[in-house]
Symmetry: C2
Subunit: 200 residues, 2 copies
């Protein structure tokens, strides 16, 4: 079991709506020392590819991406969310439908900060149905940049977002993949991964 899986088991809470809450260390209060260990693990998994920039999306992806970027020694760009159509022509944009929030957001990245010369690692905290991630992939594609890989902290393996991304041939490394969880017992089952995770 890797360090993130251990932490989810210790501090994750499954609430009444069968939602896993990790707000004590990941997406409200943030354990930056944990983020650094996650960064080192991604650095190990993506050691064979050249990364020039990390791309993430506001808001909770930003903290993880910044700490992870220290392991890769590259800048971070975060996609901005907006409910309004942006009329500036100097932006890559994508429509992102959120099933959770039942709304459509536009995401935007300035053309100044992504181009054909870039080798991108996408970093985000959660992957469920994958809508936000699909938007980020679209932005990388619009920029004619090379998408070297995708690092996700927690993938909900019982939703199909991860499978779609892997079917499309992208290299996706989720540190913790939840196969199932049971709010009544608090039981969380992780998908077994072939990676040899560093010992604590």
């Amino acid at each position: 079991m890797n360090i993130l899986e251990e932490r989810i088991r210790k501090d994750g809470i499954i609430n009444d709506n069968q939602v896993l809450k990790v707000d004590s260390f990941l997406n409200h209060q943030m354990d930056v020392a944990l983020f650094k260990q996650m960064g080192e693990e991604w650095k190990r998994r993506f050691a064979d590819v050249p990364i020039t920039k990390i791309l993430t999306i506001e808001a909770s992806g930003i903290g993880i991406a910044c700490i992870v970027s220290e392991c890769f020694n590259v800048p971070v760009v975060f996609a901005k969310k907006s409910r309004t159509i942006n009329i500036e022509g100097d932006m890559y944009t994508a429509q992102v439908e959120s099933f959770t929030h039942k709304c459509t957001n536009q995401i935007m990245v300035s053309k100044k900060f992504l181009g054909p010369e870039d080798h991108i690692l996408i970093i985000d905290d959660f992957l469920a149905n994958g809508c936000a991630l699909q938007g980020l992939i679209s932005v990388v594609s619009q920029a004619h940049a090379t998408l070297e890989g995708i690092g996700i902290a927690i993938e909900k393996g019982f939703q199909n977002g991860g499978q779609i991304i892997r079917n499309l041939g992208y290299r996706l490394e989720s540190l913790a993949i939840i196969e199932s969880m049971d709010g009544a017992t608090g039981q969380i089952t992780f998908r077994k991964q072939h990676h040899t995770a560093p010992q604590k």
Copy 2:
């Protein structure tokens, strides 16, 4: 001149609406190595106070706060913005009026993550009229935590947000205070500060 002032002079752009754009290194693309140097400067300025937690607000404050937190070795909590009234009773909330965006946001912090035992350093990227900052101060006050200080990257000294905060007796350390800027010439004048900034 400190490292942030130098960077603003080099890469900051004053656009047609007299707005300083620093999106190439601060709030869209993020130069994490610069953030680390800013963190070391704040650590120097706040060396005499005990900090247990850093508080910031989504979105662009999060990256700076996370890197700065490594210098203080403490967790980060970020306030979430919402346009809707949150009915959960386990949140500290404050209303924040944005003059720029002509709307009112609610900001929220879970009561689980701030309490009377905490000594808080607030970190944010910009201070202009100070509305977001006032909301964060209100949250710290509701939690009966101790506000040890406020670290701002760029203060617009020609707006009154900083003066109000200093008048209220808070310890505010802005790394770059802009006295004036001229879109026609690109000239930026910084307020002279008494701190001895580390040399490059």
